[in-house]
């Protein structure tokens, strides 16, 4: 592929010029801020382990990384309550961890193992579990938006105090379901939050080839709902913005759109070296790395010592060793499973 070198400038230049050290104001207590740190670090370190497994040939199919986008997943998911329902996409591993998914589950999914949540029937992060408020998306982008609207509608009808949340990328906002889903959410006034992760690139297509607008958040106006731009690499900003949207939804204020400006620090998937992304963009965004920024915040504001952060990392590292071992030990699924489970058995006397 011909490399694009100078033709694309830095993305979101305004954001790039911002003071990157200062994070959003928050009332989150220290312990919970350390939680955010733990989840972001787990997100990144688990993906690094997955990268090792990929290079060892253990991963079946593609491997998708959310490197650089951890704050968006973790900050938004952390603003949800246990009864809420979320539909994470392929780059929202952090969201899944916040909802209680164990790294071994994701590792087994990527390795197509028998004990994976789907038993080998589906790949990667494509699994759900409503007992943990998780819906599995499909690869057709945007499709999960109306589904989350339906879950929010049902929650409303059933008198449950729940809010639904899902994600879409900058590229995914070009789909029909993005428009139909968001419009339906607005018309029905359901408790729903859509996080648009604007990471600059949809596979190899830059945002400028998806749309002519600068801020995707402005699209909210088309649906008569609030839209907000947030620094997607500031976990506290993402948390605070999501919290506001979730609380508004829970009070009956309807859906919101939040655009988190961030950057995809790797290719579309592991096989893709992202040679089409100008190096300067990586350089700009490397300085805004969400985890390093948050570390500086925690240390600079006396919320944690270096030893404490090191201890968290060591604990994650040890835990991941066990997770990898467990995942590797799981067998491949028995072939006969391929034929099972297409239909839900019908109640007696109703159906075949």
């Amino acid at each position: 592929m011909a490399k694009q070198t100078k033709s694309w400038g830095p993305l979101h230049p305004q954001a790039a010029e911002q003071e990157t050290e200062r994070l959003a104001k928050t009332g989150l207590p220290r312990e919970r801020q350390l939680d955010l740190y733990r989840f972001m670090k787990l997100n990144r370190m688990a993906e690094e382990r997955l990268g090792n497994l990929y290079r060892q040939g253990k991963v079946v199919g593609g491997l998708y990384s959310s490197r650089g986008q951890e704050a968006t997943s973790v900050g938004s998911a952390y603003a949800l309550e246990p009864q809420d329902v979320v539909g994470p996409l392929i780059r929202n591993l952090g969201t899944m961890f916040v909802r209680g998914v164990q790294p071994r589950e994701v590792m087994m999914q990527y390795m197509a193992k028998s004990d994976s949540p789907t038993g080998g029937k589906d790949a990667n992060t494509h699994f759900g579990d409503l007992s943990r408020g998780l819906v599995a998306p499909i690869s057709m982008l945007g499709a999960v938006i109306p589904v989350m609207v339906g879950i929010a509608l049902a929650g409303q009808r059933q008198g449950k105090d729940l809010v639904t949340l899902t994600y879409i990328g900058d590229g995914g906002t070009s789909t029909g379901d993005f428009h139909e889903g968001l419009n339906l959410a607005a018309v029905l006034n359901v408790p729903f939050v859509l996080i648009v992760e604007n990471n600059g690139w949809a596979y190899s297509t830059p945002t400028s080839r998806q749309m002519r607008i600068r801020d995707i958040a402005t699209r909210a106006a088309a649906y008569g709902i609030p839209g907000e731009v947030v620094d997607g690499n500031d976990v506290l900003a993402v948390y605070e913005a999501t919290k506001r949207a979730v609380e508004r939804a829970r009070r009956g204020g309807g859906p919101s759109l939040i655009e988190a400006k961030t950057f995809r620090m790797k290719g579309h998937a592991e096989h893709d070296d992202a040679g089409y992304v100008p190096k300067e963009q990586f350089e700009v965004w490397k300085k805004k790395d969400p985890i390093e920024r948050f570390e500086r915040h925690l240390l600079g504001n006396g919320l944690a010592t270096e030893d404490e952060l090191r201890a968290i990392v060591a604990e994650i590292d040890t835990g991941l060793n066990a997770e990898v071992d467990f995942a590797l030990a799981s067998p491949m699924p028995p072939p006969e499973r391929a034929f099972e489970g297409v239909y839900e058995p019908a109640p007696e006397g109703v159906s075949v």
């Binding site: 499709a143 999960v144 006397g349």
Partner: protein, 333 residues
């Protein structure tokens, strides 16, 4: 016993299921105040309120996506396509979200998508289609297509109670043209809840005969029955099998009628290539080859869009004359 039309049977089934089970609710365009383009839901808004009769924007994909989500939460959504032709706008939600969901991650999707299909009412290319074969290919879906009043009633109730995504293709030509007696709605709480229910997956022998089988469904059932009456004079005794459910096909019933008569015509209102009729014919060829006394015929529509003008549409659709001619040809094979 009350005598009702096919349309009233649909309406009655919906009404009773909504009364019986508060999890049932409807999404559709113009189904509330207006009562639906064909008046299927007239009076529903007043009875069940806007929480359960939800008028939506013109967004078929979002409507069905929304139903999928609500069903995951234990609700039982019924989505009305104003004309079934528009189901193509929601193809992705049905094919990629609803159908494989249980297989992929264990979460069933008990939704019903229903709407008027079929031609012979001069509805032209986008208000006359029979899209069943697009979906027939897809594991995880069930498809029903009632041809009688009793089946319109009983299959809709079964579809709503089925824990899988069910596509319910009603035939608009039959809406007000056929009438039958239906059991009264069960009034007493102890009345059997499954009164009138028609099991999904079971074909029905609509007419017993010796000489030749016509396997069909929907409005074509009535073409087959009329042809059977006309052929009596020729001494040809037709057997007519009404499939009722297209997915899963009642293969036993299909093979049984073929073994009995050894001659078979599959009569459907689809364009012929890649049709449900093709699947029925293939199964007969594979599993009942040695019972056949002649080739398996398909009498379907030609491979053209549905034409508008009555003379064109008449040429396009199967009818009694065309069926009688095919029967005579096959009977003398």
């Amino acid at each position: 016993m009350a005598t009702v039309t096919y349309l009233e049977a649909i309406r009655q089934a919906l009404w009773e299921e909504m009364e019986r089970d508060e999890r049932v609710f409807m999404l559709g365009q113009d189904i509330g105040t207006y009562g639906g383009a064909f008046r299927v839901t007239a009076g529903f808004l007043e009875k069940f309120g806007p929480q359960r009769i939800v008028d939506t924007p013109i967004s078929e994909s979002a409507m069905i996506g929304c139903a999928i989500g609500a069903s995951m939460m234990g609700m039982l959504p019924v989505v009305e396509m104003q004309f079934i032709d528009f189901i193509s706008c929601a193809f992705n939600q049905i094919i990629n979200f609803a159908a494989p969901n249980r297989y992929r991650w264990g979460q069933p999707v008990p939704i019903v998508v229903r709407g008027p299909s079929g031609g012979n009412v001069h509805g032209s290319a986008f208000h006359s289609q029979n899209p069943e074969s697009y979906f027939h290919h897809t594991p995880g879906l069930k498809i029903v297509a009632p041809g009688t009043v009793a089946d319109a009633y009983g299959l809709l109730k079964a579809a709503i109670r089925d824990p899988n995504p069910v596509l319910y293709f009603e035939h608009k030509y039959l809406y007000r043209r056929i009438k039958e007696e239906l059991p009264e709605a069960p009034e007493a709480p102890e009345a059997p809840e499954d009164s009138g229910l028609v099991p999904i997956g079971k074909a029905r022998l609509a007419r017993e005969g010796r000489d030749l089988s016509v396997i069909t469904y929907g409005a074509m059932l009535h073409v087959a029955l009329e042809a059977a009456g006309r052929l009596e004079a020729d001494g040809i005794d037709l057997e007519v099998l009404d499939l009722r459910t297209l997915k899963p096909l009642d293969q036993e019933a299909i093979l049984a009628t073929v073994r009995k008569t050894s001659r078979v015509i599959v009569l459907t209102e689809e364009q012929i290539t890649g049709s449900v009729a093709g699947e029925v014919a293939a199964r007969i060829a594979q599993h009942a080859f040695e019972w056949l006394d002649g080739p398996v015929h398909r009498l379907c529509c030609p491979d053209t869009p549905v034409p508008f003008s009555p003379t064109l549409e008449e040429a396009y659709l199967p009818n009694v004359d065309k069926l009688v001619a095919q029967v005579r040809e096959l009977a003398s094979y």
